[in-house]
Structures are given as structure tokens and as C-alpha cells.
């Protein structure tokens, strides 16, 4: 199989992965999804590096990918802690919550219209109740999901 053809195919996949990750990073608002999209960009980079390494018959590409994975793990650790801290402070994972430090006099971005929840018409099976209905434990209902 032609090495050049292989290389070009891989580079194309890599660039698409990189661009999709970038798209997600820019479009999405969920902190965790943004981070995953950044990781996807790194995957695109890794694919091109591997392809080039194979093409050049050289180890540096793979070395760099190994270290990219390591660094990604480090960043994931920090991101995890940071996301938790942010979530505790603002109550949600929305990045738009974090625009308080900005140029004086500049209006913040506020969602003009919040889309309605797309309700799926869910048809749950109904069963005829048998026996005595158990007493609901109020404490259980309102307990934290954590």
C-alpha cells in the first residue's frame, strides 16, 4: 500500500478531527464538553504525528504523542478539580456564568431566549397497583443525589 496515500488519508482524518474539536470547543457551553473537545483536538494532532512518524520512519512523532497523552492526563486532573470548584461556586457547568471580570461598562451576554425543553412523548407502561402503597420517605425524596 502506498505510503504517501496512507499519510494523506491520515492527515485528512487528523485535520477533520482537529477542526471538529475546535468547533465543539467554540460552540458548546458546557465546561466538560469543552474540555473533551479540546482533547479531541489533541487526538487530531496525535493522528497526524503518528502518520508523519510512520512516513519518516522516525520515533519522535510517537514520543511526542506519548507525552501529549501524559500532559492530557495532567490537564484532565486540573480540569476536573477546577470544574468542580466552578460548579460549586456558580451552581452550573455553563461557561457563560463566568464573564464577570470584563472591561468596565461592557454589557454581559445574556441569553435572549431559552429554548423550551424538547419533551419526548414518553409512554411509560402503567401497571395496576397491587397491594398497599408504601409510605413515601420524604427525607429520601429530597436527599442529595451525590
Amino acid at each position: 500500500m502506498s505510503e504517501t496515500a496512507l499519510l494523506q488519508n491520515y492527515l485528512l482524518v487528523g485535520s477533520i478531527l482537529f477542526a471538529l474539536g475546535l468547533t465543539g470547543f467554540l460552540i458548546r457551553r458546557n465546561l466538560i464538553v469543552m474540555f473533551l473537545c479540546a482533547e479531541m483536538m489533541l487526538q487530531g494532532v496525535s493522528l497526524s504525528l503518528i502518520a508523519w512518524g510512520r512516513y519518516h520512519n522516525d520515533w519522535s512523532g510517537q514520543m511526542l504523542v506519548i507525552f501529549i497523552i501524559t500532559v492530557a492526563a495532567c490537564e484532565a486532573g486540573i480540569a476536573l478539580a477546577l470544574v468542580l470548584a466552578l460548579c460549586r461556586k456558580s451552581g452550573s457547568l455553563d461557561i457563560v456564568n463566568w464573564q464577570n471580570v470584563r472591561e468596565e461598562g461592557r454589557m454581559p451576554y445574556i441569553d435572549q431566549e431559552v429554548p423550551a425543553e424538547a419533551m419526548e412523548s414518553e409512554a411509560w407502561p402503567t401497571l395496576t397497583p397491587a397491594g398497599i402503597e408504601p409510605a413515601t420517605d420524604q427525607q429520601e425524596l429530597y436527599r442529595s443525589n451525590v
Partner: protein
């Protein structure tokens, strides 16, 4: 010996500044002035010794003399630039001081005035909260100024140029609790920065074109390694000066720097505001130190300007226009210090006009005026300070008057200063102003003087004898230069004719406004403002004795210097003035009897008009105009009134009107432009601020978009890659 002297002169003020800064707040306090005065006096003595040593050397060695003292290497890079021949030129900045005629004259003047101002200041500032701070600043200021005139490198010149600006900022804003004072300090600093920007660019252009920033040749083992900008190799004609557009660009940028520091149109706006500082500071800034820096720099760079007639005529025009403008504005001012401030601007314009003639006579005249002006302007400012001191810091001329009996010493010395400024024979101002007018006249009517004036013919012969050998050696260069220059020069002659006329008119204005201020202050009924309390009195001897000394000098210095053209001969021994291309414009100090007489008449006319309008009559005008409304009787008064009115409407009002127009032009157009320059960045900033939304995805999108746009520009538009 001159090596040590040139180091000692700036050293004393620096030492004083450091001593006062360290010991001032705790130890010296009210005695700080001793240190400063002693240091300045020592500096002055050294300057005098240097002066005589230079003079001796000049006599001994012939026409051109310089001596360069190197202290240490400040900045050095091995391979700073590759020149046209492929040799790499090292970048080397030594801290070097030079002693030549120009420097020694400037040093004497600066240190002398500074000494007297310091003595005066000790009396004036007595009891001020920041007494020691004042003297520390003044010492630093004088140190910077002495260094400015004695360094031998453009970069160092720039450094002390900035240092002088900084000190002036500190001194003008000395009473920083007054909002006007701190605003004025800021204004001075910022306007100066605009000029400095030009100067900095000029320095870079010089570096690019000449490969060095040194004035002198860099010599190792008797061999010239890096020829300096004003070194013997270039002055002697062995290496060319850059000509054409580049020369003009350098000179105009230098001129921008000089405009900032020497308060020339359109950067003169800071100087009148700088009156907010203590009066001794005004005297120091206006007479001896800061404003003279621009004139000094242009004089020092004469060879550069010589290479560009366009730049010279620009200098002359700026100078002439500033002189006229400031003179007209000064007519209508009520504030005594402001009148003097505008007169300083006007006189500086005169100096630039002279420098702009491009002839040796003109340059000598300009420097000569700088020299004499320092004495009488210091005198006038200190005099006004003395008045201010007595009047409880009131300086508005409408609120006091008739002080001649109250303050006899101030009155007498002030009169001397006024006469000198107006240019009355034989006061100092007369000689220098006449020299300027003569040089402009020569430039405007080339060849006229040899027919008109026997006297000047005689002088020219006299000079020719002394410089016979020079003429012989350079006669060929002289002829060719003359020939080449004549075509160029002719096209500008008309401009110089108009400049000459405007200069004559300015002379009239000078005499008029000077004496208007004088009469308003010292004549008429005695009026004393409330602020002075009941003890308005003559200033203490510590203040009037410097005035008296300055008055003596203002009276004598012009005459003494002009005697036998001593000043001119000494000054022309400065290397940058005594070079081959300059000798075609020799014959310095041509004394023109006709011009002298006509200018004297003009000055006397101005004084007479001022006397006529302001010596007593003025109040009558008001009184009569009031009477006319109430009871239109008293024919005698009425007649007088008509006469006055005619004079008023025919002469004073148009002039006042013109003055007002110029004042408003100044206030709105020029200040407005300057403010506009200040506002553009601010407006731009608000645009950029708009992008800082605080929204992270927006930031990242902007980053990516901008990156791709840059890539696109680079790939498609600039066709790179």
C-alpha cells in the same frame, strides 16, 4: 586641566543634589540653600576657568579647538551594524564630555544665572514646606543642564534632554497641591515628549546614516576609527554629510525636538502654563536652562542643517512666526509673568530666526542673543518674583500699580531689564537684537551691506585679516559652495525679506509690551492688593542683590562682548561652526549702522506709544468713558478722550484684536490639535475595549479568526509563502 574642570562643573550640582536629597529632610532643612549656592558658585568658578583656558587654547591653536574627555564606556555591542562596505560597525557609547567654545560659553552662562537664581530662591522660598526639596530639584536641574551642554554624543544629549524635562516637570509641579501646578507640570512633560519623539527618530536616522552618535572622532592610537558626526574628518570635508531628503528629514525631526524644548510654535503651549512653578524656577527655565537647550542643539548641529537649506528656511520661518505670534499675544496679557513668558517665546523665536539664516553671522547672532537674553530675562523674572513676593503672590497687573517708591531696587533693576529687552542702546539686548536683524537683512538682501554700510565693510576687512589663512585654504571650497548654494538660496530670498519685516515689527511690539507691563506695574497711583497685608515692602537684600548684579550685566555684557567681536571670534572657533562649508558665510558681527539706527527708532517708538497710552492716560480713558455716559460735558476731557479713542481704535484695538485672535487661535486651534493628538489614542482604546467582553468562547473565536485572517493576508495579499 580642562579635563578635570569639565568633570567638576556638573559634579558639584550633582553632589549638591545627592547631599540635599539624603540630608535635606532631617539635617539641612532650612540651610539647604548653602549647599546649592556653594556648589553652583564652585561650578561657576570652574566654568570661568574653563572658559579662559578654552580661550587661551583658541588663541594658541588657531581657529578650531575641542577637547574630549572620556569617563567610561556606557553601552557597547560588538556587531551592531554592517555598513555598506561589509565591515561591521561596533555600537559604542562612551560617556564623553567635551570642552569647546560653545560649551564653555553655555556653561558660564548657565552656572552664573543658576548661582544668582539660587541666592534669590533662598530668599524667595523662605519658609516653604518643601524648601530642601526645591534645592534638591534645582541642583539636579542644573546638573542635567550642564551635562546637556557638555556631552559629546547624541544619545547622551537625549538622555539629559529627557532629564531636564523630568526636572522641569518636578519643578513646575513643585506646588503639586495646586491643581493648576500639577496640570502644568504634566502638560510641560507631555508636550516635551512629543518633541522628544521627533528627536529620538532623528537620532536613529543619524545612527543609520553616519554609523555613530558621537560628535567627535573616535581615535585609537592616533588613528580615527569611527569618524564622529561633527568630528574633524567630516568637518574637514574628508567625509561627506548626507544631503537631500534624508538631511531634511533629520533636520526637521531635530527641529521638532528643539521646538518642544525651546517652546516654538506649535509646541510652545507649555511654557506660559509653566508659570505655575515658583518664580525662581521660571527664571531658571526661561533664561538659562531648559529653553536654551533647543537653541544650543540646533547650533551644535549646524553642519547637519547646513546640508539642507530647506530645513534652514523652515527653522527661520518657525522662528519668525513664533516671534510675531508670541509678541502679539503678549500685548493683551494682564499677568506680569505671562507677559514675560510670551516675551521669552518671542525672543526664542528671534533666535531660531537667526539660526535659520544659515549664515555664520546669523548663528553667532542667535547664540549672542541667547547669551544676553539669559541675563536680562533672568533679571526680569526675578524682578517680577520680587514684585510677587511683596504683593502676596498676586501677579495680576490690574491689581497693583505705582510700586516705584515702594520697591526702589526692584524698580531700578526692572527698568534696566526692560530697556535691555526693548533693545535700547547701549543695553545688552540692543547689540544682540541688532546682530539678528542684520543677519536676516543680509540674508534677505544679499550683497546689500557692502554698498550700504561703510562700517560693516570695515569690519569685514578686519575679520578678513585675521582669517586670511583660512580663506586661503578654503577659497576653492568657498567658490564652489557659493556657486552651488546661490541658486538654492535665491528662491528663498523673498521669504527672508518678509521675515525681516516681521522681525522689525516684532521689535516694535517687544518694546511696546515690555513697557506696558513696566508702566502698569511701577507707575500710576500706588495700588496694593489685600493679599500682601500691610507690610508690602522692598524685598530683602538676599533678593535684590542678585537683581542688582544681573542689572549690571544686562547693562554691560552686550557692549563688552561686542567689543572687538570677542564673542563672535570665540564662538566661531567651535569645531562644528568652523568647517569648510561655513566659511562662505563668514564676516560675523557685521555692525550695520543703518539697521542699528532704524531698530533703535522702532524700539523708541514702541516705548513712546506705551508711555502715551499707559502712563497715566489709561485710567483717564476709563474715567472719561464713564463720565460720557453720565454727563457728556467737560469739553477738555472730551477732546482728550476723542484723541485717545482715535489712538485706541486705530492702533491699540486692532493690535489687541489681533492679539486676541492669536490668543484664541493658540487656545483652540493649536491646543485643540495637541489635545486631539491626545484624544485619538483614547478613542482608539475604547474601540479595543469593546472586544473585551469577558466571554471566554468569544475570546477563543476571536483568536482563531484573527489567526486565520493573518494567515490569509500573508498567503494571498502579501503573496508570501
Amino acid at each position: 586641566m580642562s579635563d578635570n574642570l569639565i568633570i567638576l562643573i556638573p559634579f558639584f550640582p550633582l553632589l549638591a543634589a545627592i547631599l540635599i536629597a539624603i540630608l535635606g529632610p532631617k539635617l539641612l532643612k532650612e540651610n539647604s540653600h548653602y549647599v546649592t549656592v556653594l556648589a553652583f558658585a564652585a561650578s561657576f568658578v570652574c566654568s570661568l576657568m574653563l572658559f579662559f583656558s578654552v580661550q587661551g587654547q583658541v588663541v594658541e591653536e588657531g581657529t578650531s579647538f575641542e577637547s574630549v574627555t572620556t569617563l567610561w564606556t556606557w553601552a557597547a555591542v560588538d556587531n551592531a551594524m554592517i555598513d555598506a562596505d561589509g565591515h561591521s560597525v561596533p555600537f559604542l557609547i562612551d560617556v564623553t564630555l567635551r570642552s569647546d567654545a560653545l560649551t564653555s560659553i553655555m556653561l558660564c552662562m548657565v552656572t552664573f544665572i543658576a548661582t544668582l537664581v539660587a541666592i534669590f530662591g533662598a530668599g524667595y522660598m523662605h519658609g516653604d514646606r518643601g524648601y530642601w526639596r526645591f534645592f534638591a530639584y534645582v541642583s539636579l536641574f542644573v546638573f542635567s543642564m550642564t551635562m546637556l551642554v557638555s556631552v559629546s554624543n547624541f544619545l547622551l544629549l537625549f538622555v539629559f534632554w529627557e532629564a531636564v524635562g523630568l526636572c522641569s516637570y518636578l519643578l513646575i509641579g513643585f506646588w503639586y497641591h495646586k491643581p493648576e501646578a500639577s496640570a502644568a507640570g504634566k502638560k510641560a512633560f507631555l508636550v516635551n515628549r512629543v518633541g522628544d519623539f521627533g528627536f529620538a527618530l532623528a537620532i536613529f536616522l543619524i545612527w543609520i546614516n553616519y554609523g555613530t552618535l558621537n560628535f567627535h572622532d573616535y581615535v585609537v592610537d592616533g588613528q580615527v576609527i569611527i569618524p564622529g558626526v561633527f568630528g574633524q574628518m567630516r568637518l574637514g570635508g574628508a567625509l561627506p554629510y548626507v544631503q537631500g531628503g534624508m538631511a531634511t528629514a533629520i533636520c526637521l525631526l531635530l527641529m521638532l525636538g528643539a521646538c518642544g524644548k525651546s517652546a516654538q510654535f506649535p509646541l510652545h503651549v507649555w511654557l506660559p502654563d509653566a508659570m505655575e512653578g515658583p518664580t525662581p524656577v521660571s527664571a531658571l527655565i526661561h533664561a538659562a536652562t531648559m529653553v536654551t537647550a533647543g537653541v544650543y542643539m540646533v547650533t551644535r548641529c549646524t553642519p547637519l542643517f547646513h546640508a539642507s537649506p530647506d530645513a534652514q528656511v523652515t527653522v527661520a520661518c518657525i522662528g519668525g512666526f513664533t516671534a510675531l505670534l508670541a509678541g502679539l499675544i503678549a500685548l493683551t496679557q494682564h499677568d506680569l509673568k505671562r507677559v514675560l513668558a510670551y516675551s521669552t517665546v518671542s525672543q526664542l523665536g528671534y533666535m531660531f530666526l537667526a539660526l535659520g539664516t544659515g549664515s555664520l553671522a546669523g548663528i553667532v547672532a542667535g547664540m549672542f542673543h541667547l547669551f544676553t537674553h539669559a541675563f536680562f530675562k533672568a533679571l526680569l523674572f526675578l524682578g517680577s518674583g520680587s514684585v510677587m513676593h511683596a504683593m502676596g503672590n498676586v501677579i495680576d497687573m490690574r491689581r497693583f500699580g505705582g510700586l516705584r517708591h515702594l520697591m526702589p531696587w526692584t524698580f531700578r533693576t526692572f527698568l534696566v531689564g526692560c530697556l535691555a529687552l526693548a533693545g535700547i542702546f547701549p543695553f545688552a539686548g540692543f547689540w544682540s537684537k541688532d546682530a539678528i536683524l542684520a543677519s536676516v537683512h543680509d540674508r534677505a538682501y544679499p550683497g546689500a551691506h557692502s554698498h550700504d554700510s561703510q562700517d560693516s565693510e570695515h569690519d569685514a576687512d578686519h575679520d578678513a585679516d585675521q582669517d586670511a589663512d583660512d580663506h586661503a585654504t578654503h577659497s576653492v571650497a568657498l567658490l564652489s559652495a557659493d556657486h552651488a548654494g546661490s541658486n538654492q538660496a535665491d528662491s528663498y530670498t523673498n521669504i527672508y525679506v518678509w521675515l525681516y519685516r516681521s522681525a522689525c515689527f516684532t521689535a516694535f511690539l517687544t518694546a511696546f509690551y515690555t513697557f506696558r507691563a513696566f508702566f502698569l506695574t511701577f507707575y500710576g497711583p500706588q495700588v496694593i492688593p489685600d493679599e500682601s497685608g500691610h507690610h508690602a515692602h522692598e524685598s530683602p537684600p538676599m533678593m535684590w542683590i542678585p537683581l542688582a548684579i544681573l542689572a549690571i550685566f544686562a547693562f554691560l555684557i552686550g557692549f563688552v562682548s561686542e567689543l572687538d567681536h570677542k564673542f563672535a571670534h570665540l564662538l566661531t572657533s567651535t569645531p562644528s561652526l568652523a568647517f569648510a562649508g561655513m566659511h562662505d558665510t563668514m564676516q560675523p558681527g557685521g555692525f550695520h549702522m543703518d539697521i542699528a539706527i532704524s531698530s533703535s527708532i522702532i524700539a523708541v517708538l514702541g516705548i513712546a506709544l506705551a508711555a502715551f497710552l499707559y502712563l497715566g492716560h489709561q485710567r483717564e480713558v476709563e474715567a472719561i468713558s464713564k463720565l460720557k455716559l453720565v454727563a457728556p460735558l467737560r469739553a477738555l476731557s472730551l477732546n482728550k478722550f476723542y484723541l485717545d479713542e482715535i489712538y485706541t481704535w486705530a492702533v491699540v484695538k486692532p493690535l489687541e484684536f489681533l492679539g486676541i485672535i492669536y490668543f484664541w487661535l493658540d487656545r483652540w486651534l493649536v491646543d485643540g490639535l495637541v489635545n486631539l493628538i491626545g484624544k485619538v489614542p483614547v478613542a482608539l482604546g475604547s474601540g479595543f475595549r469593546y472586544l473585551q467582553t469577558g466571554l471566554l468562547p468569544f475570546y477563543s473565536l476571536s483568536m482563531v479568526v484573527a489567526m486565520l485572517i493573518l494567515l490569509f493576508l500573508g498567503q494571498v495579499l502579501w503573496g508570501g509563502g
